[in-house]
């Protein structure tokens, strides 16, 4: 516990973050250690290169998308609070937490989880997944297992299925609807160790 509190003291606005993200202080301390480990040059922020240095991540077929999601604002720096905020998307939804009226939409809510996934597809940030964007992700995920033609038919099919307003693209609303029956909380949460 002693180490936890000492780590916490190093984090600039720890209380605020805990309040905002719902992480416990132990979580936060652990994440801070991880943050510092990733930040090899001790520059106080993370760059995309720091992420690319993670060995396991490089194997991930859509790793560039995910790294991109962390640097969504366009800059090349990621400070600790943004780091934690993004990771907070993946905290499981806790239903026994006291619901405070002043925090209507916690960062790990269903809709925010979906938004995070959506922006991975939507590279040009126009609020829609176009056929091309979908194709890119599919190509990355399927690698060389299928032919280009098959890929395209899958993409077409996907769009056709989700596309409600017939604009040949999937808007966020359509994205949400197509995943309505999926238990997002199960599928988009990980256990953060204390």
């Amino acid at each position: 516990m002693g180490s936890t509190s000492s780590t916490l003291s190093k984090i600039p606005n720890a209380d605020e973050l805990i309040q905002e993200t719902g992480f416990t202080s132990a979580h936060l301390a652990r994440l801070f250690e991880r943050f510092e480990a990733l930040d090899k040059d001790k520059k106080g922020y993370l760059s995309p290169q720091d992420f690319e240095a993670i060995k396991e991540l490089a194997l991930n077929p859509i790793c560039d998308r995910i790294i991109g999601a962390f640097f969504s604002s366009g800059q090349e720096m990621l400070d600790f609070s943004s780091f934690v905020r993004i990771l907070a998307h993946f905290r499981p939804i806790d239903n026994n937490r006291t619901k405070e009226p002043n925090s209507p939409d916690p960062i790990n809510s269903r809709i925010n989880k979906l938004k995070f996934a959506f922006q991975l597809y939507d590279q040009d940030k126009d609020g829609k997944i176009s056929r091309n964007e979908l194709l890119q992700v599919l190509r990355a995920m399927l690698e060389k297992q299928v032919t280009e033609e098959q890929l395209e038919s899958i993409a077409d099919r996907t769009i056709q299925e989700a596309d409600l307003d017939r604009d040949d693209a999937i808007s966020f609303e359509e994205f949400r609807k197509s995943l309505e029956k999926v238990n997002i909380d199960h599928k988009m949460s990980i256990r953060f160790l204390r």
Binding site: L31, R34, A37, L38, F51, I54, E56, L57, L59, N60, P61, I62, C63, I66, F70, L87, F90, P92, F116, A117, L120, Y121, V137, L138, M141, L142, Q145, V146, E149, Q150, E152, S153, I154, D156, R157, T158, Q160, E161, A162, R166, D168, F175, S178, L179, K181, V182, D185, H186, K187, M188, S189, I190, R191, F192, L193
Partner: protein, 845 residues
């Protein structure tokens, strides 16, 4: 002492079992019969779990036997149980365990609630066996109530491993008992524990090794599909025996062999073998279950077998309940510390309540040696009561309980392609986030495993053609096929209403280019190939309708003569994996669709009828001739009738349609007419009738096949094409079963007759086409005719001698190529036409 655990087997099980089997054969057939009867009475089993029914049946039978014989003839024999009954039950469960979640099962491995009044060895032993939760009983109940997947898997995994662990424990204890409680030293207890660990881990390893071997073997069985299931059974059973040989846990070995090889074997073996394995395993397992349950019933009736002790019975009942609950609560508490989604109170209640004791516990207690375990009779009585109580009372009440507690049910819904894709993306995201956050959680390890699996295991254990396939692509195809079926399900109307009304379509279909057909087909997504060009090229509604009718009839009327190869040849077996389970549904729906179509046409064309009546008689006899393949055509008759020029146009299509159904299994000889067919546009002379009718498809024949065929075959997943073709051909075979004596002939002869018309000089198309036409015009006739032909069909072949084999044709190659598409076209044209303003789909009437 643990080392002796293997010695439980009967000295010469083979011989004993044989004798036993011979002895039992007669009553056994009766039992099986009764079992089947009960099995079929679905209504009954929805209320009462099957286990209950079986036990009651056992009681009744036991009573009968007792009255007849005054003593029990049949009893459970250890050799039989351990060599045959147990493996089948466990093997079944292991093989069908949902593989991905076996981790959860493994987590629950330690779940043995030793509800034992400690002290005496016998009680330990008894505790071990009575704590065996019966997977079958639990699963049957849970499947019925559709509890959510997680709960299902946990309970499944738990009871499965419980079974195994129980048997291991049982053997350990029994060896203790054999030594005698007095001689067991403290060290022996530790030895027991150690040997327990060795036995279970060793068993698991043996199982996994056999799983690898099995998967590796099935990789090379492509040429010998028939023995695939045999390999599966033998190797799984061998895993069992090998483990037993080394005194390891045979059950764990078998279970893990099943779990481990499932993925690879399923991918390697053919669809047919898969079905065979599935059904055989299920059958064997349920037979074994039945035998045990019936024994239970029988011995419950026989008083000499058990002795009652109220204290023991009631204590046991209370204890199993309490300990079960305690075990569940304690373990879920530990598990919840590691789980993302904690198990809720409700789940725990259901889990503790679902602890049904079943066949295995009973079998084990009956197998106790009365010489060494003096209290055996008491144990038997208690076990019977416990099994009765849990299966009857809890089994009957768990369903209302689940409803009452509102346990989240599983939704029986197939994932859409969107869900498939996004969920995969989620998996990747989570794995990445875990990497970033520096956690090695579930996703991390799963990713690692998948990498390993992809890089090494799959390459080693799967056929090349199989492991290259992408899961997502397969999912996509499955969804497509499902859609195709649902399309047919709805009488094809969905094609017109949903698909064709897509706004984007109008623009695309208006382009005549091939690429646009492609696009359209792609966009359409579902593999149902709509040939829009057919619609496009049709100028008017009337013409269009005629086309539609024509295609329909072309497909319908000639049905009886479309045959496919005898399914009994070896050749066929190797092709067999095209077969789909969907087929049956497909057939039925297809038939309905055709039927409804016919009726609508009947109405529509009523007015035409009168005009054509004059000709009807003629045609009738004529059709009869044509429709029965075996009829030896009296040439003069044929000549007279066939000479009518009117029918030229249809020929091509008729043939094409028929041919297409056969495409998957092509045979060189059978296609004499194919070439003519495909070329018919150029060959067919413009006859007076043709001008008169202005039949659209006539123009289409020339133009369409080339463009459609190439593209369509490319786009539509091969699978789907085959499924489609096959269902059609099976549909036909339904209407007219292949002739047994000369399986290849019917089709050939049909083609033959058509291709070699009575008057060689006359261009073949005209003569052939005749029947199509009249048929659609006067519907009344058509109805009667088709009925007639259907009735005649079965009779005909036997009546007439088979015609001579056809002359081989050189034309087939070109014909074959085009056929599928044209065929598809003819199939599909009907529904789309409904979207045209004037056309009349079945719905409109």
């Amino acid at each position: 002492p643990g080392r002796q655990s293997g010695s439980l087997r009967a000295p010469n099980p083979g011989k004993q079992t044989l004798l036993w089997l011979v002895e039992v054969v007669k009553p056994f057939s009766l039992l099986l019969f009764l079992f089947l009867v009960f099995h079929f009475s679905q209504r009954f089993t929805t209320v009462v779990p099957e286990s209950c029914v079986l036990i009651i049946l056992g009681l009744v039978l036991g009573g009968i036997v007792l009255i007849a014989n005054k003593k029990q003839l049949y009893q459970l024999d250890p050799g039989l149980f351990f060599l045959f009954l147990l493996p089948t039950i466990v093997g079944d469960a292991g093989y069908f365990m949902p593989a991905r979640f076996c981790l959860y099962g493994a987590k629950m491995a330690g779940v043995i609630d030793d509800n034992v009044e400690a002290g005496l060895m016998e009680f330990l032993l008894f505790g071990a066996l009575i704590s065996a939760v019966d997977p079958v009983a639990v699963l049957a109940v849970f499947e019925e109530v559709h509890v959510n997947e997680m709960l299902f898997i946990i309970v499944f995994g738990e009871s499965l491993l419980n079974d195994a662990v129980t048997v291991v424990l049982y053997k350990v204890y029994i060896s203790f008992v054999e030594v005698g409680p007095g001689n067991v030293l403290t060290a022996d207890y530790f030895k027991g524990v150690a040997s327990f660990l060795i036995v279970s881990i060793g068993g698991t390893l043996v199982g996994l090794i056999f799983a690898v071997i099995l998967a590796f073997i099935t990789r090379f069985t492509k040429k010998v599909r028939i023995i695939e299931p045999l390999f599966v059974f033998l190797l799984v059973y061998l895993a069992y025996l090998t483990a037993e040989l080394f005194s390891l846990s045979a059950i764990l070995s078998m279970t893990f062999c099943g779990i481990g090889c499932n993925k690879y074997v399923e991918a390697n073996i053919s669809q047919k073998s898969r079905t065979t394995v599935k059904y055989t395993m299920k059958t064997l397992a349920s037979i074994a279950e039945t035998i045990i349950f019936i024994f239970l019933g029988i011995s419950a009736v026989d008083k000499s077998k058990w002795a009652w002790d109220t204290g023991l019975v009631s204590c046991t009942l209370i204890f199993i309940f309490v300990f079960r609950a305690m075990g569940v609560v304690g373990q879920t508490w530990i598990l919840n510390k590691f789980r993302l989604i904690p198990l809720e109170k409700i789940d725990q209640v259901v889990m503790s309540y679902g602890g049904l004791r079943g066949a295995v516990a009973f079998a084990l207690v009956v197998l106790l040696d009365g010489e060494q375990v003096k209290a055996k009779d008491y144990f038997v009585a208690t076990t019977i009561v416990v099994v009765f109580f849990t299966v009857m009372f809890q089994g009957l009440t768990i369903k209302p309980l689940v409803k009452w507690l509102k346990v989240p049910r599983s939704t029986n819904r197939k994932p859409t392609i969107n869900e498939e894709i996004h969920e995969r993306a989620f998996d990747h995201i989570l794995a990445a986030v875990e990497d970033i956050a520096g956690l090695s959680g579930y996703h991390h390890w799963r990713d690692k495993w998948e990498q390993f699996d992809k890089n090494y295991l799959s390459k080693l254990l799967m056929r090349k053609s199989v492991y290259c396939k992408s899961e997502l692509w397969e999912a996509y195809q499955k969804i497509n096929i499902r859609d195709a079926i649902s399309v047919i399900d709805q009488g094809g109307n969905i094609l017109t209403s949903a698909r064709l009304s897509l706004p984007s379509m109008a623009s695309r279909t208006s382009f005549p280019e091939v690429t646009n057909v492609t696009n359209y087909l792609r966009e359409n997504g579902s593999g149902v190939c709509l040939d829009l060009q057919v619609i496009d090229t049709n100028p008017g509604a009337k013409v269009e309708e005629e086309t539609e009718t024509h295609h329909f009839l072309a497909g319908n009327l000639y049905k009886p003569r479309r045959r496919y190869q005898s399914p009994y040849s070896r050749h066929f077996m190797t092709l067999g994996d095209q077969e789909r389970q969907d087929r049956e549904v497909f057939q039925r729906n297809m038939r309905n669709r055709l039927e409804s179509f016919k009726s609508t046409h009947y109405k529509r064309h009523k007015k035409d009828r009168s005009q054509k009546k004059a000709r009807s008689h003629h045609r009738l006899s004529h059709l009869r001739l044509l429709l029965t393949p075996r009829v030896k055509p009296t040439k003069s008759q044929l000549k007279g009738e066939l000479s009518e020029p009117e029918k030229d146009e249809d020929v091509g299509i008729t043939f094409v349609a028929r041919k297409a159904a056969e495409t998957p299994k092509e045979r060189p000889k059978s296609v004499p007419a194919a070439l003519e067919v495909c070329q018919s546009p150029s060959v067919a002379p413009p006859s007076p009738t043709c001008g008169e009718k202005n039949l659209p498809w006539k123009e289409g024949i020339g133009a369409l096949p080339p463009c459609v065929s190439v593209e369509a075959t490319k786009i539509i997943p091969i699978d789907l094409q085959q499924a489609w073709n096959q269902s059609i051909s099976s549909l036909e075979s339904l209407a007219s079963p292949p002739v047994p004596q000369e399986p290849q002939h019917p089709r050939v002869s049909a083609l033959h007759r058509l291709s070699v018309p009575p008057r060689p000089p006359v261009p073949p198309p005209p003569s052939r086409a005749k029947f199509q036409f009249p048929a659609w015009k006067d519907e009344e006739e058509e109805g009667t005719l088709s009925q007639q032909h259907r009735e005649m069909q079965p009779l005909m072949p036997s009546l007439r001698p088979p015609p001579p084999p056809p002359p081989p044709s050189s034309a087939q190659s070109s014909g074959k190529r085009r056929n599928p598409c044209v065929y598809l076209r003819s199939l599909v044209t009907t529904p789309p036409s409904g979207s045209m303003p004037h056309s009349r789909g079945p719905t409109q009437l």
